[in-house]
């Protein structure tokens, strides 16, 4: 029987973490499934790392629960062969060599020492295995962290911002690594603050902002919903063009800075219409709203919402004025 035939589920239910007044993670409920790469997306400070630390039992939740195949992390008898995690860059003693760092991890879980050399080879650090990790570059540090995650050949892998500090070749490598790990039937949960990165690797997407769940959707769904195609038009004969478009049954929306926008990829049709009616066009360009924009819009809303609920009586503008005044006086 395969070890991975069942299991590999991470389940969060109402997970909440407060630091004093500040709510870092707010009532998160979602699941992470095996066999796919699940992207965990949010701006800096959204609570991604805190959530990951709670999954690993490092931080205790204020409320709610997180279980791995029905167990709390500290109930796992073989944690490293169950979950491998890359948490923060350089979470080790700089005076220790890469080999010894991995060796002490392997020993703590009864993993054979031969495995240390294998993962060092996998991440391409064999040549510097005996060197102190103090001198490692950011990218080498990430590779060592990934080696630590792979050490137990676990069924679940968690990576917190794995592409940070990696060069293009390294980024390409980690993308393929994550995809192949998922293809082997493992659970891969990877956080990032870069939508573009997630669009390339993740099959499923969990978006949080201000500690709240904003989206829990498959990647194709997210792209279909959020990557809007439209045509941008600039013309000195605005009224005339609007009439022409209206007659043709095309709705154009005026965009504040004197441009018109038409949903969909109808640039040819519009160009031909304009030519037929002799309307001068200064610009006719097909546009694609980027996923990055969609993501920023999604998270910006959460920030706005958050501010309003906290201070409903006091508009934020007024507050800013006071800050400015204080600054001038001092």
């Amino acid at each position: 029987m395969s070890r991975f035939s069942v299991g590999g589920m991470i389940e969060l239910t109402g997970l909440t973490k407060r630091y004093g007044e500040k709510v870092a993670v707010n009532n998160l409920t979602f699941g992470v499934r095996p066999g796919i790469v699940t992207g965990f997306l949010g701006p800096n400070g959204a609570g991604k790392s805190t959530t990951m630390r709670m999954i690993l039992g490092l931080d205790r939740p204020t409320a709610g629960d997180v279980r791995i195949d029905g167990k709390h992390y500290d109930q796992l008898k073989d944690p490293l062969t169950y979950i491998g995690a890359l948490l923060e860059a350089k979470a080790w003693h700089g005076g220790r060599s890469a080999y010894n760092h991995l060796l002490c991890l392997a020993q703590s879980n009864g993993i054979p020492g031969s495995r240390v050399r294998e993962v060092l080879d996998t991440v391409g650090l064999t040549a510097v295995a005996k060197k102190k990790t103090k001198g490692f570059s950011m990218g080498m540090g990430q590779r060592l962290g990934i080696a630590g995650a792979l050490l137990g050949d676990p069924r679940i892998l968690m990576f917190d911002e794995p592409v940070n500090g990696l060069d293009p070749e390294g980024i390409h490598w980690i993308r393929n690594l994550m995809k192949s790990l998922a293809a082997q039937g493992r659970t891969v949960f990877v956080s990032s603050h870069l939508m573009s990165e997630m669009a390339l690797t993740a099959d499923h997407l969990v978006v949080i902002g201000q500690g709240r769940l904003l989206a829990d959707t498959s990647m194709p769904d997210f792209i279909a919903r959020n990557s809007r195609a439209y045509v941008r038009i600039r013309t000195p004969q605005r009224e005339r063009l609007l009439d022409v478009l209206h007659e043709a049954g095309i709705t154009a929306v005026e965009n504040g800075n004197g441009t018109l926008e038409v949903d969909g990829g109808k640039s040819e049709q519009i160009g031909e219409l304009a030519a037929r009616h002799q309307v001068v066009l200064h610009e006719l360009s097909p546009q694609q709203a980027s996923l990055e924009e969609a993501f920023m819009q999604l998270t910006a809303e959460s920030v706005e919402y958050h501010a309003h609920t906290e201070a409903p009586t006091r508009p934020p503008q007024q507050r800013q004025q006071q800050w400015g005044a204080d600054w001038k006086r001092s």
């Binding site: 944690p79 490293l80 050949d153 082997q184």
Partner: protein, 289 residues
């Protein structure tokens, strides 16, 4: 979705590299699943303590101080007493000064064993690999205590043998030998263990080392400024129960009327360390890593 597969194909070369390859709907790891125990944590902590240079440095300086000062003190006395110096005390006492200074090294190493993991972020890796926090602290305590005890005992025995041979003084009895070597070594190792536990509570190397050096020296310094007659009792207690004075008790066979005598310092240090250890365990369970 599970297809029956031969269990644990140890010999078959597995796809370690996790390189882009054919998708396996079910995946069999060749790594045996082990239920981890304290033995694994001990092996891990032993690797940690021996693989950083600060261990070698602090222990090296410790041995240098203990052996160097211990031998120098005895040599100085031996050279300056021509006539038979009929002293009540044995030559074992010359080991005292070296150990007192050397204890700062043991304090430093003890604190670094725990606190440095918080400074580097290693603690997160450690606690992920071994989620049983009590087991981590216990393993650290056992490994550190063993290292500190063995190194102190080796240095103390070396100094004691040399000093007794060099200085013409009363021959120590069996009990005095035991106290002056094994006794002080357990005491110093316990002092280091206390530092390790304080390091786990404070989570900051410099802060914890400062606190421990304060514990070592402050009672004597404070007692120096207690001129008032009404404080005489407190002053006396501070001096008698200060760590340097307790350490010197291991070299005297005389029983004083007040203050610790005989093996008392060991029991005091054992009690204090156990109490602080329990507190550190409780805090470790409660706090976030």
């Amino acid at each position: 979705m599970s297809t029956p597969q031969p269990p644990m194909p140890q010999t078959a070369a597995p796809n370690w590299q996790a390189a882009p390859g054919p998708a396996h709907p079910t995946y069999t790891s060749p790594i045996p699943v082990v239920r981890t125990n304290l033995g694994h944590a001990l092996a891990s902590e032993w690797t940690k303590i021996r693989s950083v240079r600060s261990t070698m440095w602090t222990l090296g300086v410790f041995v240098l101080l203990v052996v160097g000062i211990g031998l120098a003190a005895a040599a100085l006395v031996a050279a300056n007493t021509d006539e038979g110096n009929v002293s009540d005390e044995t030559a074992l006492g010359f080991g005292f000064f070296g150990l007192l200074l050397g204890s700062i090294c043991i304090i430093t190493l003890g604190v670094l064993t725990t606190a440095s993991e918080y400074g580097t972020g290693m603690i997160r890796t450690t606690m992920t690999a071994c989620p049983s926090r009590g087991r981590v602290l216990t393993a650290k305590a056992i490994v550190f205590f063993a290292v500190a005890f063995v190194v102190t005992l080796a240095s103390a025995v070396l100094v004691a043998l040399a000093d007794v041979a060099m200085v013409d003084a009363r021959e120590p009895s069996g009990g005095e030998w035991l106290k002056g070597t094994v006794g002080v070594s357990v005491y110093i190792a316990l002092l280091g263990l206390l530092s390790l536990v304080v390091g786990s509570i404070i989570r900051h190397s410099a802060g914890a080392i400062t606190i421990m050096i304060g514990v070592l020296l402050a009672p004597l310094v404070i007692a120096m400024f207690m001129f008032s007659e009404s404080l005489r009792g407190l002053q006396q207690a501070l001096i008698e129960y200060s760590i340097p004075n307790q350490l010197s008790v291991f070299y005297t066979q005389s029983l004083t009327e007040s203050g610790p005598t005989g093996w008392d310092p060991l029991w005091i240090m054992l009690g204090v360390t156990a109490a602080v250890f329990a507190g550190a365990l409780a805090l470790l369970e409660k706090r976030d890593v």
